[in-house]
Subunit: 182 residues, 2 copies
DNA sequence: TTTAAGATAGTAACCACTTACTAACTTGTT
DNA sequence: AACAAGTTAGTAAGTGGTTACTATCTTAAA
């Protein structure tokens, strides 16, 4: 997993995988048909182990805007901060055009978009938010956290020091909610 | 360029490059010391050919918020839409840890952050914007366009149909300016 | 005795890169 | 103008090392 996240599919050799796992290459090919199915198994595992409970359903039911947006941003930022390898894996998969990336995308990311879009749409109906393109705003908000971590973890851009995840999340939420307020 | 953008450094072979260029592999190695320096030359070229005039200096001088933000979003979205290979190249470079990616980053992206951050800071001083973290907001705004294109070009996520670049840019600007207004 | 878990030692294809060569073009001298 | 001398642009045919993958052997437990 670490090797694929670091070097991508093409950049990772079965030899290095075997070495790192402390077994022979032959054993790898006894267990997995080929390199690609080993890779797929890793992505499958990564998907299954990421907790599904990113969605703040109860806060959404309470119409607690602050909590809804803050939870999403904080959970996303924290999980990418804790383990950037999933993000790297996904980026590589997207660039290298593996179908599995699409599956994850469909299963997790698009679902999150829909959840947020639905919430925003509801709040617009309730006249709590002004009428905006709910789908664009939902994606934009999710994108804030992703882009922040892309900068920090992939391109090594260190945002202003002494600025932790909670503060960043707060800025995202603050900007977004101000932008949505009537 | 197209091959590196499509398959990354590790995924592109010198044989395929030569084939595509219609020359022999030997000629490649006569002109470039090795595969890496060929890659560097390509990134250098890509950098030099991207127009520097993304920065709406005059709109900033006029304090035309709408124009400042709209120009940045529109130019970024349009250039990535027209030629996604630069984005792919940059993402691969970041993931594969080439120093050149950092150089581009430093030269172009960070400069854009600084420009926008400076503008936002000025407008806060002028009491036109409320006091926010200018650096975070600047990065966030740039990130909206990047993330939008990441979704669309890398992960194949088609945002709501019949929604063109101008409309997306407008949503970004609208949300951001509303969020910044006092 | 069977079977599973593992290793050794390959294999053909492919990788970045080199050698050794030719043909075409410049250039300076007569 | 003629032409040797040198340079440039190009290639065919390799090189050794690496790659994904395999055929076959070894060991230990049931």
């Amino acid at each position: 997993m670490d090797l694929f996240a670091r070097h991508g599919f093409a950049g990772t050799t079965t030899q290095k995988i075997a070495q790192r796992a402390g077994v022979s290459e032959a054993l790898l090919f006894r267990i997995f048909r080929n390199k690609r199915s080993l890779y797929s198994a890793i992505i499958d595992l990564k998907i299954s182990e990421t907790g599904e409970d990113l969605f703040p359903h109860e806060a959404a039911a309470r119409n607690d805007d602050q909590a809804v947006f803050n939870t999403i941003a904080t959970v996303m930022l924290a999980s990418m901060e804790r383990d950037p390898s999933f993000m790297r894996l996904m980026l590589y998969s997207g660039l290298e055009r593996h179908q599995l990336a699409e599956m994850v995308y469909e299963a997790r990311v698009v679902k999150l978009f829909s959840f947020l879009e639905g919430y925003i749409r509801k709040r617009i109906r309730q006249k709590a938010f002004r009428p905006v393109r709910a789908d664009v705003v939902a994606r934009t908000f999710v994108g804030m956290s992703v882009y922040h971590m892309l900068n920090s973890k992939i391109f090594g851009y260190q945002a202003s020091r002494h600025l932790d995840i909670e503060q960043v999340a707060e800025s995202f939420v603050d900007l977004t909610l101000q932008g949505l307020k009537r």
